[in-house]
Symmetry: C2
Subunit: 387 residues, 2 copies
Amino acid sequence: MKTLAECATPALVLDRNKLQINAKRMLDQCHRRGTRLRPHMKTLKSIEAARYCIDPQHGGIAVSTLREAEYFAALGITDIQLAVCLPPDKLLRAVRVPSRKFSFFVDSIATARALAALAASDRHWNIWIEIDCGEHRTGVAPDDPLLLEIAHCLSSVRNLSIEGVATHAGQAYAVHEPAAHARIAEVERAALLEARQRLLRGGCDVRGASAGSTPTAAHGENFDGLSELRAGVYMVGDLFQAAIGTVPMADVALSVLATVISHNRRRNQIVIDAGGLALSKDRSTAELRDGDGGYGIVADIEGQLSFGRMSVRDVHQEHGEIRSATPLPFERLPVGSRVRIFPNHACMTAAMYDSYWVVAGGAGVVDRWSRVNGWSSPTVEQAMESA
Amino acid sequence: MKTLAECATPALVLDRNKLQINAKRMLDQCHRRGTRLRPHMKTLKSIEAARYCIDPQHGGIAVSTLREAEYFAALGITDIQLAVCLPPDKLLRAVRVPSRKFSFFVDSIATARALAALAASDRHWNIWIEIDCGEHRTGVAPDDPLLLEIAHCLSSVRNLSIEGVATHAGQAYAVHEPAAHARIAEVERAALLEARQRLLRGGCDVRGASAGSTPTAAHGENFDGLSELRAGVYMVGDLFQAAIGTVPMADVALSVLATVISHNRRRNQIVIDAGGLALSKDRSTAELRDGDGGYGIVADIEGQLSFGRMSVRDVHQEHGEIRSATPLPFERLPVGSRVRIFPNHACMTAAMYDSYWVVAGGAGVVDRWSRVNGWSSPTVEQAMESA
């Protein structure tokens, strides 16, 4: 069997056993609380990973780009929700996503009107009106008059169903305790119920209510009235998720395989071939009281934390510098040896790779999984080139 | 003619006119100071861009990964320097880089010995011994006994030429004025001359001396004794380079094309479809006294700074939030309209895209250029899969 010792570095490693544990934990939480899960594939962007995470009671997924939607649709996923607001000019590309049920978010009159103007297309549109429950990124506040304006505009469009209202409590990342996440989960739920109530009173019979973030989904206690929860990074976790208590450190499933390329004993420094590109420059753990993991925590090739909290302290484009207040294990980590780095933010780190080496607990490679990246569509781009 | 108004977003835009200006400025500087330029392609990773930057008096380029080396070699570049130390197990891949002259850095006995062990291969190795001139990333200090040890080990290898000594004064980024960069350029030069002198005295007749970073190359005043300078980000610049005075803001050639997807007038916020992935999470300008550009400065579709210093203040994976202390231009930027974002750090931002839309001063697309990313080699990976 091939092992991680033979893979070119840097490379992305996914532990399938841990993925399964994380997938089951979240599915159990959703079912126990009486709702269903729509796994968000923005972190892993992989059909093989999606198959481990899809809720058999639901069947759908969420994605973050049209490119992802095209990839998953081509591979047979029939219910795909693009959990982002589309501007009018992306509708022409959205028309062609080859999925039986493709939906996306709308929070503007501009896009609602563009949909009305496109009514002649054969596509049946499935729309979620995005609600802002306090993150203040996109979405309309539940009490904003714009909510009914958008709903009425959409209701006039032929071939269009308003699937429901959707929200994401990104503000959950500003607090770092399960009890606080549970409170924000309730804010998320309340915003959707209020918005749906207003729509009903305004004559729009809207059924769906889609909420979620990994912290609120993991720690919410009451999901009554929600038709689904969306979450993504829970599948693999990362140092930030571990620090805020949503995924145990022992279940963090994603790491970067790297090779030691240089020693500097004078400076007590070991340099690896994974730098700012391979690990990402995300420093989300810097703000955590006890959780600062630099640019990643160094594990051995088996994924064990046998070096304690040893971390990558600085990165350059293709270099990562491991330093420590205590003497580094130069003998255990000669030039050419392998390590695995648990990153701060899985979504950002994974984005630099086009596939996963899959392991099942150790350093033996059991599979290779695909991954889609970027935003361009080969088909659309070719069409545009020839236009 | 197609324009940026028709391109799917987010996308990467390269202004060819500005690239030419930047390329000429650096070439002129090198020739005026009596040395030659080896353009570093780690920022743009594009054959078309390389052709605009290669020094006719030199012919070679530098790269930062084996993947780049393979790409440029396959496209006909004959002198490629991988300006990173290779661990022993990458030599098997390096053997197959199809370039007439492929060289890389060595700073360890481990790799020197591995080269000796591989002497039976037909490959002629071209090696640069990496010197640490104060950045303390990789390389051996000029006065370190290891320098001669490595040189003697390499000298014993059949089919191997020590091209010279090489260094990179990354510490130049910690100071932000041309005079300071000029002083560090002198540190860079002195370290190489000292190392070469020690090698000569130790019986190793090493000729080459390769130095460089964009700040030291741009502002150095004396390059006597250097056989070449390496620099990369000067080709396009970015907010950080503009702030430290190496590339004028007017000549920053790289930007991210984005579309407005949401308005929030209550919060004075405009949201675009370029977030942490499309812009990168690099916050290098945060430390600059007057230069903090958030996650990027917003220009109009022509690339003009007609919104002043309006910037992206926060990013999520696929969302960028434009906010300002003064009222935002909602009327000029309706949902669906286009902007261009000048990023903090071109090398990190460009890495998320697989091609460039090329413009020549405005919003008209004049060409499309390729770009290579990541680390895996299709060939090598296939061979490993079947192994």
